[in-house]
């Protein structure tokens, strides 16, 4: 996925963040890369992701 500068500008507006023009492209590249990697993960493991709870940071049981 290739997010444009306008896409990022609009997303940032939703969280009241004004990203200067000079940084928009870099933010777009970073976010696009992350979402692209997640897309791949969904393709590979999507069903498994549906069937597991999000990770708790601590260990609820004694056994690992």
């Amino acid at each position: 996925m290739d997010l444009t500068k306008d896409d990022v500008r609009n997303l940032a507006k939703a969280i009241n963040l004004d990203i200067p023009e000079g940084d928009l492209n870099t933010v777009a590249l970073r976010l696009s890369s992350l979402i692209e990697m997640m897309d791949q993960l969904e393709k590979d493991l999507g069903d498994e992701l549906d069937n597991v709870d999000p990770i708790p940071p601590v260990y609820p049981r004694e056994e690992f």
Partner: protein
Amino acid sequence: MNETELAYMSIAEQAKLIEKKELSPVDLIQTYLDRIEKWDGVLHSWITVCADQALKQAKQAEADIAKGNYKGPLHGIPFGAKDQITTGDVPTTMASIIMPDFGEGMTATAVSNLENAGAILLGKNNMHEFGKGSSVNFHHGEPKNPWNIEREPSHSSTGSGVSVSAGLVSTSLGEDTGGSIRGPAWANGVVGIRPTFGRVSRYGGIMYAWTQDTIAPLTRTVADNALVLQAIAGYDEKDPLSSDRPVPNYADTFTKDLKGVKLGLVREMSVGQELHPDVEKMLNKTLDVLRSLGATVEEVSLPKVKYAIPLQLLTSDPDCAAVYLRKYLRPYWDKFDVGTRTRLAAAALVPATIYNRAMRGRALVRNQVFDALKKYDALITLMNFEPPLKIEDSVEKLDKKEDLATRMYKGRRICTYPFSVANVPAMSVPSGYTDEDVPMSFQIAAKPFDEAMMYRIGHAFEQATEWHTRHPDLEKTLGPALKSAAE
């Protein structure tokens, strides 16, 4: 014993001399202050050095020990702290210029524990801005690798790794979310541990990746690392996620051999990858040593670890951004380094649905790591597939998507992030040097709260090798830069 020998001694060796009153903590502190004065203009490993305070405390320690009130092996030992770990009146800058002190008078529990054991705060170590590991420009000078200033000193707890390696302090507390202790330990040739999440209180660390952040020591030996972790580990009522499991005596678990120890060599983080020839040679020698000590080593495949990098960046980074957005990003955008602010902004824009899916993905990675650890006592990996990069190659290029994606999948992160997202302990142990005398390390990971097993393996390896006895010759590696700066 000359000044250089004293500076590079292990804590255990320094402590023996202090206990026998053959070394004054004042002399030890002064030795490090002199070396900082001489070398840190090139190394940039410190942001704040509290010389007067440290000398005053050293004199008190000297007096207490003379009266027979020796507290134990950390009494009179100087330590540094990554500058995102709060230290009372000593400022905590986060390596930022937004404000001079983010600490608000807090003192991290890990720092208090060390001070209660008699250790003396020498100062605050330089780091990547806000500990995000993406700094392009450093507000307090760019830390340099004491082995070779043209090679990267790695990311985040950088000054901690540099200062311990260069003999500018006995130990330093770092912070590891994705590899920020283990990375600088690897690049600078020292030992660095990421403990189990919850083993060490997070209280007083200014860090917001609430499912992954850990505080722990960087040291010159494995035994020293165990000694410092021993002092800072344990339940803390100020950190609701700290564990009340008992802390074992780590030194009691040291053995000369590794008979009966079963090790799993993770293919995706070692032999299954394209390795630099020096790294491949080092790995083979390391495995030979482990086998010669009696351990069995089998290859194991953990295919899901390849997802660890996006999983961390889509979970821990948004957790941090959730705090930074309101407090700092909106009002102080221009005061951030460009690498830090664009990374945090991208994280702030990750949709909640993707965040949730990534947290589920972390559970899958964790489960696969756990399954392997049911079969093996510990997992073995490389710390990187290549030696520390030239600095210009290690800095994130921010204008091409290909560069970002490549960097995310290659390099140190793929070796450190999997154990971070799985919340298991892991440790970087020096295990060789390239032909150009640049350090390389391997990594040991273990079951949750089984730091003792990692220390046992690391210590036995260390006793069978001599890597930990090598230290950078600063006259050779930094002398020319120092001379050039003076001209």
